[in-house]
């Protein structure tokens, strides 16, 4: 058992199957899908409320999605801890500022990487709320319910991603 937990990588099919079973428990015990982008709207709302002495609570979006520490926010805290534990057990914890694949094309400059990461993050946060979900909320939880909007969203996530990645690194597929 412990050797298995210490392995650096598991088969993607085993990992995916495990995520599928995890989603059964979420539907059963929490009666909603597993999604990761809601937490970021919560954080934005909590920060806005703190700086506006609660006035941001009156904004139409935060009336619809009430910001606070809830299941979705704790999910992200848990993901951070779970990934840390997994990397710790397999001895693959490593401080990374510029990922090697990024550095191979754009160099090891931290300012460039952080700027690109910040712009990417802003587009992810904006796009996820715009589309009503992210890779987990639409891409996994929604598609497995056979939701039409989720299949369309997942296709658009990858279409946009493949296009921009190709423009950045050059299209590599034959």
């Amino acid at each position: 058992m412990i050797e298995w937990l210490m392995m650096a990588r598991w088969s993607p099919y085993v990992v995916g199957g495990g995520i599928g079973v995890l989603i059964w428990t979420v539907f059963l015990l929490s009666d909603h899908p597993l999604g990761c982008s809601t937490a970021f709207a919560n954080t934005a709302g909590m920060v806005e409320c703190a700086f506006s002495h609660g006035k941001a609570r009156e904004m139409p979006y935060y009336k619809k999605f009430i910001p606070g520490i809830d299941w979705y926010w704790m999910l992200i805290v848990g993901v951070l801890i779970g990934a840390f534990l997994s990397a710790y057990l397999s001895g693959t914890l490593a401080l990374v500022i510029v990922p090697s694949f990024f550095a191979s094309t754009f160099g090891t400059g931290a300012v460039l990487r952080f700027t690109v990461a910040l712009i990417g993050g802003i587009l992810l946060g904006l796009g996820a709320r715009w589309a009503g979900g992210c890779t987990s909320g639409h891409g996994i939880s929604g598609t497995l319910q056979l939701a039409l909007s989720s299949w369309v969203a997942a296709i658009c996530f990858f279409a946009g991603g493949i296009l921009v990645a190709g423009l950045m690194f050059g299209f590599r597929f034959p």
Binding site: F101, A117, L123
Partner: protein
């Protein structure tokens, strides 16, 4: 304790969110999808790990959720979509996905393994979500409801019983796995 009690108890839900996250993060890291190079490999179509993880989750999740629904234990939670919301938002998300090299969940996982660029991306996501909240009344009026989809689910759209669609999608996913292994991916 009944399911209803568990579902409506805020404190239990906070603990369940944390526990679900820990398992999810553990699995994402073991799958390799908290790594920048693996995600970019998927978007450049040179590494299909992300697709394998996602489609296996859909295969197992779909069969289980539809079985639990038939047993009356769970409800579906599908969102209505539209061209203006789903397609435009999805493409914006995709562009961010390639630039950051992580998505919202895998970014949190990557930060847990020590990737500081993922932490910068998470700050960006909160900013992006905040921008959306500011723009929401305007976007809701001019674009989010444009080209609304007429069906909530694929079975509704094509007019076939959900059970049959589950079987068709399962066969398609297994076919994709077979095709990937046939081309040595």
């Amino acid at each position: 304790m009944t399911l209803e009690k568990i579902r409506s108890d805020d404190r239990i839900q906070i603990v369940l969110g944390l526990l679900t996250g820990i398992v999810f993060g553990f699995l994402l890291q073991k799958g390799g999808v908290t790594t920048y190079g693996v995600i970019l490999g998927q978007l450049l179509l040179t590494d299909f790990t992300v697709l394998k993880v996602m489609l296996s989750a859909v295969l197992v999740g779909m069969i289980g959720i539809y079985a639990l629904k038939t047993a009356g234990l769970v409800r579906l939670h599908c969102r209505m979509g539209s061209i203006g919301a789903t397609v435009i938002g999805g493409l914006i998300f995709g562009a961010g996905f390639a630039l950051l090299g992580y998505c919202p969940g895998t970014a949190a996982g990557a930060l847990g393994t020590g990737a500081l660029d993922a932490g910068v991306g998470m700050a960006g996501m909160a900013i992006g979500a905040g921008i959306f909240a500011r723009l929401y009344p305007f976007l809701d009026r001019v674009i989010l409801n444009k080209g609304a989809f007429q069906s909530q689910t694929i079975p509704d759209l094509i007019g076939i019983r959900p059970g049959i669609v589950v079987i068709i999608v399962a066969v398609m996913i297994i076919g994709i796995f077979w095709a990937l292994s046939a081309i040595g991916m």
